[in-house]
């Protein structure tokens, strides 16, 4: 956790129209993220966690505040905004082409439902190769060997490379989705409830894999979850959200062992222990 800031969020907010009234789905969120750091966003459903994640990934436009990201020094496809090549850049200032390029190369997005993040009508190998082909890889043999090596890394059987993702189990689909995102060596990965809907042993294996990959690749990650155990296992820091606002943030162990806000206390005390 050294070096410069990777992501800096200041007063971020988003409002939606509900009936005839505007309602803040998420409001006044501020935090910093450093390279290699894992941040968990926890809270009950409807608290604005997923909206926040979509704001950070520039899938939704901000209604308030700003998100700055440390764009890697490389000219954009369109020649790029030259001076933004280094340092923190306001995502709202980037062109759509540049944002799409970012989300294809420097970011990953792991969806809660693997079906939303995968191309279900092409094989696992093609799913892993898609980002590389989008960046101009045009050598079938190399694409294939890269796909095989990523399948090994995420513990998928390599003889399933030509099978459609629909024939994979839920846990395998989730691992395929992770491989598909990591193939371009992103620096920041967004995960939206990556383990929800998986049974406990598969969940444990997936968490283990994510923790290992995050360590190996020095990934920064923002993980949205309602499961405090996931946060405890993976995250360095956490953000507790309620009704669209951040009620508490700090080091994971500090927040979980010594919760300050009444809502966090409630959350921590309502975890079942077998």
């Amino acid at each position: 956790m050294t070096g410069d800031l990777l992501l800096s969020v200041r007063g971020a907010g988003k409002q939606f129209m509900q009936g005839n009234r505007l309602r803040w789905a998420c409001r006044d969120v501020s935090f910093d993220l450093y390279p290699g750091e894992v941040l968990a966003v926890v809270g009950e459903s409807g608290s604005g966690k997923s909206t926040l994640l979509r704001l950070l990934a520039a899938r939704l436009g901000l209604d308030a505040g700003s998100v700055h990201y440390d764009v890697r020094g490389e000219a954009g496809a369109d020649g790029g905004p030259g001076r933004s090549a280094a340092g923190l850049v306001d995502l709202a200032q980037l062109s759509e082409a540049r944002l799409r390029w970012l989300s294809r190369t420097d970011w990953g997005f792991v969806e809660q439902h693997a079906r939303d993040g995968l191309r279900m009508n092409v094989s696992g190998g093609a799913n892993i190769g898609e980002r590389m082909m989008a960046l101009g890889a045009r050598h079938y043999g190399k694409l294939r060997s890269e796909a095989l090596s990523w399948m090994e890394r995420v513990e998928l059987e390599t003889d399933r490379i030509d099978d459609l993702p629909g024939s994979y189990s839920g846990g395998m689909q989730q691992r395929l989705q992770i491989a598909r995102n990591l193939v371009t060596h992103p620096r920041l990965v967004f995960m939206d409830e990556p383990t929800t809907g998986l049974d406990v042993s598969v969940q444990a294996r997936l968490l283990d894999l994510v923790r290992e990959l995050v360590n190996q690749l020095q990934l920064a990650a923002v993980i949205v979850t309602h499961d405090l155990a996931v946060a405890r296992l993976l995250a360095h820091r956490m953000l507790v959200m309620k009704d669209g606002c951040v009620v508490e943030q700090g080091l994971t162990d500090r927040v979980l062992d010594d919760p300050q806000h009444p809502y966090t206390q409630l959350l921590v005390s309502s975890v079942l222990t077998p």
């Binding site: 496809a77 759509e96 082409a97 799409r100 191309r119 092409v122 094989s123 190998g125 093609a126 190769g129 898609e130 980002r131 082909m133 989008a134 960046l135 101009g136 045009r138 050598h139 079938y140 043999g141 694409l143 294939r144 490379i161 030509d162």
Partner: protein, 306 residues
């Protein structure tokens, strides 16, 4: 000429609108220009797009040739040729070299085209990405940003599943190294002819309401992989009528015992060669079913059949 109709069936304002779309299409090679396609006295799928393009560019001194699958004498070709003969009164021909406008479905003539000619394609689906990305708004963005990795995902999938790129017609091309374009359902055999062709190539899609163009001498590249390069079909046989071994051949099954006749799909090319004295074998080739060989019938079964 039937004077109850305006010249070329369409009214002058419509033709002007379509010409404007054509100009834009020529200015941006491979880009799909939307236009207000009209109802034509044809069913969709019978070349309404191509007919509207031809009707807009045709003049009294043009000579029109219409081909369908390479032949001048198929239903679609005969219909459209008669339609233009009636509504414009222009001269029609079956000779590729004599035509100034060639409207085509599914083929490019074998004979080389010249700068004085215009090739009009009938296009069923102008969007090459439509099977991969169903959202129209998304494909427009992909074209705008030249994000064509998805097309290679499809080609990758073909090689992974079938060992080779299985697309044999409507094989996607990159026009002028910029726009991914559907060449309309011509066989991939014809793709190399589009590259640097001296003739103007116009594409009309009536149902989808799009016009696009490949101007003369424009680079057209078929997509492929470095280690699986683009290749055209080749036949082991020559045309049975004219003996040509470098043309696109139709395979006709002439009996139920495995005899196939290979003949040129371009009927004008074939007849011109025959007039010039070239002769083929005049024989069907015996090819027992190569895909699933049928077991030879036992003598008793043969007797039972008789």
């Amino acid at each position: 000429m039937d004077t109850n109709y305006n010249f070329g069936f369409l009214d002058e304002r419509t033709k002007k609108m379509i010409r404007r779309a054509i100009l834009k299409a020529v200015a941006i090679p491979g880009y799909q220009v939307p236009f207000g396609a009209r109802e034509m006295p044809f069913a969709y799928g019978w070349g309404t797009g191509g007919v509207q393009v031809t009707a807009s560019i045709i003049g009294r001194h043009d000579v029109l040739k219409v081909i369908d699958q390479g032949a001048d004498d198929t239903t679609n070709a005969v219909n459209i040729r008669r339609f233009f003969a009636r509504t414009t009164g222009v001269a029609t021909t079956e000779k590729t070299a004599a035509a100034s406008i060639i409207q085509t479905r599914h083929r490019i003539p074998e004979a080389a085209l010249t700068e004085a000619q215009t090739l009009v394609y009938q296009v069923p689906m102008p969007e090459p990405l439509f099977r991969l990305e169903p959202r129209r708004a998304e494909t427009i963005t992909m074209h705008a940003l030249a994000e064509y990795g998805l097309m290679n995902v499809k080609l990758y999938e073909d090689i992974a599943q079938l060992g080779a790129i299985s697309k044999t017609y409507d094989y996607p091309v990159l026009v002028n190294e910029r726009y991914l374009t559907s060449p309309s359902p011509i066989p991939k055999f014809d793709n190399p002819k589009m590259h640097m062709n001296p003739a103007l190539q116009l594409f009309g899609a009536g149902r989808e309401k799009r016009i696009y163009a490949i101007p003369p001498y424009t680079a057209v590249r078929s997509l492929d992989f470095e280690d699986h390069p683009f290749e055209v079909q080749r036949w082991k046989h020559a045309c049975a009528l004219c003996g040509a071994d470098d043309s696109f051949l139709d395979e006709m099954i002439v009996d139920d015992a495995g005899s196939r006749l290979f003949v040129c799909s371009d009927s004008d090319f074939c007849s011109e060669r025959r007039e010039a004295g070239y002769v083929g074998t005049q024989q069907a080739v015996h090819m027992p079913d190569v895909i699933a060989p049928t077991p030879t019938p036992t003598p008793t079964a043969a007797k039972g059949m008789a």
